[in-house]
């Protein structure tokens, strides 16, 4: 049975229809944490986040506190919030920006205070038309409430937040590409080193980039203390997390549950969560953390939802999205669609990614639609090996950013787990499911 007694940290206003309004936010404890933070030294606020061991919720899972503290030598100029949520089947930031924008804004103000940053940007993907309206309204309300602008709540701290729309590009979720987009350019990831925008970021100045969900955790952490957050979960995976469950389940949706204390089986099958597979079919495979993550088979359903636990089995919890495939799903078609996505979204700077993704997509297309050859299986693995040599996990990188090395994840996993399905496609001259 799932363990569901942990407090809801980021989705506590879920039941309210008007959860996005300032009135509801204030009624439910809004901006109390900010007032408290402003009475603390900035380092003390950062120390609470450090004590919470909050891992970044964007995908890479880097400790947020460390992201802040490793840069303390040079003052940070800008805070940029990454709300470009585009990893396929990830939709938890969508929930947060539409349903609880004030929580996000308060988190951004708290983080800005901890970092002593006076201008922050909230970058939201352009397809979030309603999310952009809601977050902009929350920012407007926060100014009117005295929580933003000159001398916030009478303190010696001033801050402006600008809400910035993206325009449809998966790659802009990569933090240096996002910065390029924010500078008004094509979203090309920047060459590393420097590895962190904290060294050279927006306009060449030290910049911290954090995810929407990471920011949304901050009001609770300041109100309840970092230790209370760290008491939830286990090991390196502390607190709760929003999991986006999609695919062949009865109740797809966003669920906030405690890290590590629950397993994939709990999330997928518990009647209060996923509710099991549609028509009570058998699960065939699941993707544990966005399409960049290698797939798992049903034998790993009892694995706890924790960063290290999933990494130990050769995949990642990534963006917190779990996609379920059942016995009716065609894994070849699913793999083809994922490679088509990467091929479309490759920015084109690096040869292995630009050429490799298109080549893989074409081979996958003919397997699925007819014309596939037995030697295509080896060809696919060879192509994957050229993008991420050795096909290890975490993957070796031959490209500027991690989009390239993410391409082989699904292809390699699908061929390894379901070789018979691929062979059947070749023999059948296309998809036998149709």
């Amino acid at each position: 049975m799932a363990s569901l007694d942990a407090p809801r940290i980021v989705s506590s206003r879920r039941e309210f229809q008007d959860s996005f309004t300032l009135a509801r936010y204030l009624e439910t404890g809004g901006y109390v944490a900010l007032r408290k933070a402003l009475t603390m030294f900035p380092e003390a606020v950062a120390a609470e986040v450090d004590a919470a061991s909050l891992l970044g919720r964007g995908g890479a899972g880097f400790p947020a506190g460390r992201k802040w503290s490793m840069l303390r030598k040079s003052p940070i100029s800008y805070l940029v919030v990454n709300g470009d949520e585009s990893e396929p089947a990830t939709f938890k930031d969508h929930y947060l920006v539409e349903r609880d924008p004030h929580q996000l804004v308060e988190g951004v103000i708290i983080a800005s205070y901890a970092l002593q940053v006076n201008q922050a940007f909230i970058y939201l993907r352009g397809e979030f038309a309603l999310g952009l309206e809601r977050v902009q309204q929350a920012v407007n309300d926060a100014y009117a409430h005295g929580a933003l602008g000159s001398k916030i709540f009478g303190s010696d701290f001033s801050l402006d937040i600008v809400v910035h729309p993206g325009a449809g590009a998966y790659i802009c979720g990569e933090e240096t590409a996002l910065i390029e987009a924010l500078e008004g350019k094509r979203g090309f990831p920047r060459i590393k080193p420097p590895f962190f925008p904290a060294v050279t970021g927006l306009y060449g100045e030290p910049t911290v980039v954090n995810n929407v969900e990471t920011m949304s955790n901050l009001p609770w952490i300041i109100n309840n203390g970092g230790a209370a957050f760290a008491a939830l979960g286990a090991g390196r995976s502390t607190g709760t997390r929003l999991f986006a469950l999609a695919g062949r389940v009865k109740n797809p949706g966003v669920y906030e549950i405690e890290m590590v204390k629950n397993t994939f089986r709990d999330l997928i099958y518990d009647p209060k969560l996923g509710g099991g597979i549609i028509d009570d079919k058998q699960i065939k495979a699941f993707i544990p953390g966005g399409v960049s993550a290698p797939w798992f088979g049903p034998e790993l359903l009892d694995l706890p939802l924790g960063q290290d636990e999933v990494a130990g089995e050769g995949s990642m919890l990534g963006s917190g999205s779990i996609v379920v495939m059942d016995e009716t799903s065609c894994v070849v078609r699913a793999t083809w669609r994922i490679t088509k996505f990467f091929s479309r979204e490759s920015c084109g700077q690096c040869t292995p990614c630009r050429e490799g993704s298109g080549w893989i997509e074409r081979a996958m297309y003919r397997l699925e639609h007819g014309g596939g050859r037995m030697e295509d299986l080896d060809l696919l693995l060879d192509l994957c090996d050229n993008i991420a040599p050795g096909l290890t996990w975490p993957p070796q990188q031959t490209t500027i950013c991690v989009l390239g090395p993410s391409i082989p994840s699904s292809v390699h996993a699908a061929i390894k787990m379901f070789r018979d399905d691929f062979v059947a496609h070749v023999e059948h001259g296309g998809c036998p499911h149709e």
Binding site: Q119, G126, P165, A246, R337
Partner: protein, 205 residues
Amino acid sequence: MSHFRSDIRQRAEELVALYPRSRSAMLPMLHLAQEQDGYLSEEGIAEVAELTGTTPAEVRGTASFYDMFHLEPVGKYVVGVCTNIACLLAGGEEFLEHASKKLGCAVGSMSEDGLFTLEETECLADCDRAPVVQVNHRYMRTTTTDAFDDMVDDLRSGKLDHDVPPHGTLIRVRRSGGLRAPRQEVADQRVAAKAARESRAEETK
């Protein structure tokens, strides 16, 4: 002579004032240009270049990178159907095929009456209501073909005019005022904060 309507021009100028460098206003301003013209016209691109301190070639070069910007005219309603993994598992491809028939246009093209453009999109982050459909970037949540057909009929009859405003993702996004943390105040605060932090670090040594 400005190509932008006066209200769009004013919003564009306000955008520039929000950023340390004017080129940063590029993406939001391109959304505004599209709000006026429905797509990025020559004239719109020239004006964005003027306001962001760039050249039309730089504006076009930037815009062409992003899926949401149209360099050619599109229908009044841009219908996006997602076929990425979660939607695929919910029949997204068949759904897209149905949409193409219902709207009378091939994927990637505009219907003859200029009312619809159909696009196959990548993940739109609404995967618990798959297959996901957006019209002018509003989530329609029509997960059955019947619901989709009703929605299209409602669009034709103007019943959804309020829910689905024309082009321009930012049409209802209004910032109340510009930046409000005065520059000198911020500069003073940064100096004071740095000194205070250093003295606290000294004390704890």
